[in-house]
């Protein structure tokens, strides 16, 4: 309803709701589909910031940690203890902590850039970035499974044991689809979809409020822009939660898939 109202009140142009085109923001090299875009620049900046902060926080390590070491240890401890050790198991989780920690921090910082000015662009709202991360996880768990059991053993281990014989082909087909299609696709799409939807929502509230306040020309809509801006602020806080949660969930699922490939026979 509000969109129709806005379009009616807007006169010659009207308000256009944000769609997926707002994410295509090339910075230079715009000929054709190849360009250096804003998310690529944001990703490079995030990598530099992560490297600098981690170096700064771990410069002088002490047994009794200072403030900055404490903060870093809390982040590291979350990935090491409550994700890697609890899910992969205490025997061989240490090998995977660097990978999981890198993923967690990279996704977290890039997600947070969605609401931190002057970046304000969640890198993961372009499908290419979460897709690459998901492919890294995909390659890792298949490689580990094949290394541990061999190719046939890895494929065979997808079927849980103890099933009656007639149902095995059916379950095998389902598990094959799960391992090769569903897992990487959902891993990439979950991160992408959350960032994409959240960013569109924020842009809708902020640009909608701005339009009503400055361009609508009617007092009622100008007053209505106040709750719209308030909702934009509330959604920003909600985004903060979602951004952290998605980084956590991506790392959690990566650890779970790796654990599945490493697990001994049931």
């Amino acid at each position: 309803m509000s969109l129709g109202m806005l379009a009616a009140a807007g006169g010659e142009e009207g308000f256009t709701a944000p769609n997926q085109d707002i994410f295509w923001q090339p910075i230079f090299g715009t000929s054709g589909a190849l360009a250096v875009t804003r998310p690529a620049v944001v990703l490079v900046i995030s990598a530099v910031i992560i490297a600098l902060v981690l170096n700064w926080a771990t410069k002088r390590l002490t047994v009794v940690p200072g403030k900055r070491q404490m903060g870093m240890e809390a982040t590291y401890g979350l990935v090491r203890n409550s994700i890697a050790r609890d899910i992969i198991g205490s025997h061989d989780f240490l090998k995977f902590v660097p990978m999981l920690f890198t993923m967690f921090v990279l996704i977290l910082v890039n997600n947070l850039f969605g609401i931190v000015p002057p970046f304000q662009y969640p890198t993961m709202s372009r499908i290419a970035f979460p897709l690459v991360l998901a492919l890294v996880v995909y390659g890792t768990y298949h490689f580990l499974g094949i290394k541990k059991r061999g190719l046939g053993g890895h494929i065979g281990s997808m079927v849980p044991p103890g099933l009656p014989g007639w149902i095995k082909p059916l379950v095998f087909l389902l598990e094959l689809i799960t391992y090769f299609v569903t897992r990487p696709v959902t891993l990439a799409l979950r991160l992408f979809g959350n960032m994409f939807a959240g960013h569109i929502l924020l842009v809708l509230f902020i640009t909608g409020g701005e339009y009503m306040l400055l361009h609508s020309g009617s007092l009622g809509l100008q007053l209505f822009s106040i709750p719209t801006f308030a909702m934009g602020i509330v959604m920003t806080l909600f985004e903060l939660l979602v951004e952290f949660l998605q980084a956590y969930i991506f790392t959690l699922l990566a650890a779970l898939y790796i654990a599945g490939s490493l697990a001994d026979e049931h």
Binding site: D86, R190, G193, N194, L245, L252, L253
Partner: protein
């Protein structure tokens, strides 16, 4: 007013996951209320279930924009 019917499809696809996520967190709250010391373990499972359920709604969102 104009729009795209695919967005309605997203609304429909969000119903099931919405109920599912509600059930998962209801079970989580029940579990923590009964046995507060199991919170850490239940939290991991709850977020895992939440992530798997939410994936269906995310499919709906992606397809709504693919077929617009």
């Amino acid at each position: 007013m104009s729009g795209n019917i695919a967005i309605l499809g997203y609304g429909l696809s969000a119903i099931g996951p919405g109920i599912g996520v509600g059930l998962i967190f209801a079970a989580y709250i029940n579990g923590v209320a009964r046995q507060p010391e199991a919170r850490g373990m239940l939290q991991t499972i709850a977020f895992l279930g939440f992530a798997l359920t939410e994936a269906l709604a995310i499919f709906g969102l992606a397809l709504a924009f693919v077929f617009r």
